[in-house]
């Protein structure tokens, strides 16, 4: 059996509640790599990617790919917020708390603190820890590695995912209660992947990240026999300074036909803000600088000041 229950607790009115996980590969010591997603129950891309990764690695273990071999153990938790995944809620549905604001958790504390404690215990001793997120219901993110006050080693390793962008951020006060932040206290490297948009699956993003995770496992030597193309696309490294953000100067309805991952030129038209009552164009949104389109607003109903587009400049 490659799956077990990480958390097992009673529920008030249903079956007992579990958070299942996959443990695949040689059963010695701590898992070399831990993958976590679904801390937010509506971020389905990550759940899908990790469920598919578990299927693939299980097939490797069962000999379906004779050239491939798992040299070390991998832990996969496709969804931490199980009740949220089943009810399409971002937060822990019972008390509306954000599971990713409960770390490092507490064995004797609130339900979500207990879950946080268990997830951290299971993953913190891995040499590599990866937390997948899917933005939110409003904003689509080009698949990217997010680094928060990284070490030099993490900066280097981030390139091994082969994703189109690596973005570096500094730590905000609210961030101190996240899984990523709690991981930082332990030896090893931690990465957050942002993939697409919550609420649905964007298949091209998922396929890209799935290939990226397999390549990553190959490059760090956990999955032996992976052929990684020499000319794998070079990741672009962006600090906060090379991000250009466009904010809504008016409320209304934002409509754009642009897809992420393309290069835009300065002045290029990116979309329109319409008056959502009378339909008049309020703002023609154009690129203030040339760069890579890495994020775009998909939920159209705007308040003034909402983020519309993020462009990363070279």
């Amino acid at each position: 059996m490659s799956s077990r229950d990480l958390v097992l607790m009673t529920a008030p009115l249903r079956e007992d509640f579990t958070i299942p996980c996959h443990e695949i590969g040689p059963a010695a010591g701590n898992p070399a790599v831990s993958f976590v997603s679904g801390l937010h129950g509506d971020e389905i891309n990550g759940i899908y990617i990790l469920a598919r990764l578990a299927d693939f690695l299980t097939a490797v273990e069962e000999g379906a790919y004779p050239k491939l071999r798992l040299a070390q153990r991998v832990l996969i938790i496709p969804a931490v917020n199980v009740l949220g995944a089943n009810t399409l809620r971002r937060a822990w549905p019972f008390d509306q708390s954000d599971q990713n604001r409960m770390f490092p958790g507490n064995q004797m504390g609130e339900t979500t603190q207990r879950i946080a404690y268990t997830v951290l215990e299971a993953t913190k001793k891995s040499a590599y820890r990866v937390d997948l997120h899917g933005s939110n219901l409003y904003f689509e993110e080009l698949p990217q590695v997010r680094l928060y006050d990284p070490t030099p080693e993490e900066r280097e390793t981030a390139r091994l995912f082969g994703l189109p962008a690596i973005m570096e951020r500094s730590v905000s006060p609210v961030f101190t209660t996240t899984l990523m932040y709690s991981w930082k206290y332990w030896p090893g490297q931690s990465f957050l992947l942002q993939v697409g948009q919550a609420g649905s699956i964007q298949l091209p993003h998922c396929q890209q990240v799935f290939r990226g995770l397999v390549a990553f496992l190959g490059r760090i030597g956990v999955l032996e026999g992976v052929e990684v193309a020499e000319a794998d696309q070079e990741a672009l490294y962006f600090t906060r300074e090379c991000s250009v953000r466009i904010y809504a100067d008016r409320a209304g309805m934002f409509v754009s036909d642009k897809t992420l991952g393309g290069w835009v030129s300065k002045g290029q038209e990116l979309g329109y803000i319409y008056d959502s009552f009378n339909g008049a164009v309020r703002t023609r949104v154009t690129a203030p600088a040339a760069g890579l389109l890495t994020g775009i607003r998909r939920q159209p109903m705007l308040f003034e000041g909402d983020l519309l587009v993020r462009i990363c400049t070279r």
């Binding site: 607790m9 009673t10 529920a11 008030p12 009115l13 509640f17 971002r90 019972f94 008390d95 509306q96 604001r101 004797m108 504390g109 609130e110 339900t111 979500t112 603190q113 207990r114 939110n136 006060p173 609210v174 101190t176 209660t177 904010y247 008016r250 409320a251 209304g252 309805m253 959502s276 009552f277 109903m301 705007l302 308040f303 003034e304 000041g305 909402d306 983020l307």
Partner: protein, 325 residues
């Protein structure tokens, strides 16, 4: 002597276009009397907390009667901000709807950010420099709280003497936590504007007795500060706060899931081992777990929303450690 007057004005501190047709407006009412100190009451930061709205109404009613009967009694300025999160109040949502963010994790905000940041920025801009700000919260829909002030130990020296005059039952001192740095109270206290955080009652309800109790304390503090004239007559304080901190507060988290049914009244003395309630299952008879007090003390937090998961907080008991001298 110039004839004294008391002016009352209501205005928007922030007005913002909404996606479809409407405008969002954060409203306040200002009572201006003499040139004395300026004080403010903030409520409705969490859209599911209504106790503070009623306190604002009681104060507005009191101030309007002053305007009619004794306008010289207001020697300073009072600002009431009853609904800092009007969209949350409109939609029965604790957070700011759409943005799904806790307004009280967005301070000090920014003038050009998204809606939560703009509300926070407008609030700080208007509240900074006040002689005293009181931010009123009403717990949440799960837990009922006795009237209390919560104070970050970083600011205890300045705030505890004020809090002792607020006619509440408890002062709870807590250590500095980075996550709380983004609250309105922390932002104001950091820039030297004293801000007291009151927690009382329960979400989505009002507890009129608590509201009147707090009102007496607020008026007393205002008089202490010179916002009200010395000859304004007020009801006397009838509550003295106990002191709580990490050393004497005991948390009772549910050992199993089910329906928590209390067998004891909120805010009563309890003995070690005394039964506080039972966890039962709607699917079967009998009792799943008994909930007993871990210490001699006072039951000051009691679960109002009966369904519990393993770990849900059901009660807090405070061992007595006396009052501040």
């Amino acid at each position: 002597m110039p004839e004294s007057s008391l002016s009352i004005t209501t205005s928007c501190i922030l007005s913002l276009e909404m996606p479809y047709s409407e405008r969002l407006c954060i409203r306040r009412t200002v009572y201006r009397g003499g040139n004395g100190p300026r004080v403010a009451i903030v409520a409705g930061i969490h859209g599911d907390e209504l106790e503070g709205l009623y306190v604002c109404q009681l104060l507005a009613d009191w101030l309007e009667r002053m305007a009619r009967e004794n306008p010289a009694g207001l020697t300073g300025t009072v600002e009431l901000y009853p609904a800092m999160n009007p969209l949350g109040l409109d939609t029965l949502t604790r957070a700011i709807p759409v943005f799904d963010t806790d307004l009280n994790r967005n301070f000090p905000g920014s003038p050009s950010g998204d809606l939560p940041k703009r509300i926070a920025h407008a609030a700080i801009g208007n509240l900074s420099g006040a002689a005293l700000v009181i931010d009123i919260h009403a717990s949440n829909i799960y837990l009922r709280e006795i009237p209390q002030v919560r104070i970050n130990t970083d600011f205890a020296d300045r705030l505890v003497p004020l809090a002792q005059r607020l006619n509440l039952d408890l002062i709870w001192l807590h250590g500095a936590m980075t996550v709380l740095e983004a609250t309105v109270a922390h932002s104001l206290n950091s820039v030297g504007t004293p801000c007291l955080v009151v927690e009382m009652g329960v979400g989505m309800r009002i507890t009129p007795d608590y509201c009147r109790q707090l009102m007496t304390g607020i008026l007393t503090l205002w008089k202490d500060l010179g916002v009200l004239a010395p000859d304004v007559e007020l009801p006397s304080l009838n509550h003295l706060p106990l002191i709580a901190d990490d050393s004497n507060v005991h948390y009772l988290n549910a050992p199993t899931s089910g329906l928590f049914v209390p067998v004891i009244e909120h805010w009563t003395d309890v003995r070690k081992g005394q039964l506080l309630g039972n966890i039962v299952s709607p699917l079967q008879g009998g009792i799943l777990a008994e909930v007993r007090s871990p210490v001699d003390g006072i039951l000051f937090t009691l679960r109002e929303y009966p369904l519990v998961y393993e770990g849900s907080l059901m009660a807090r008991v405070m061992a007595r450690k006396g009052r501040l001298a």
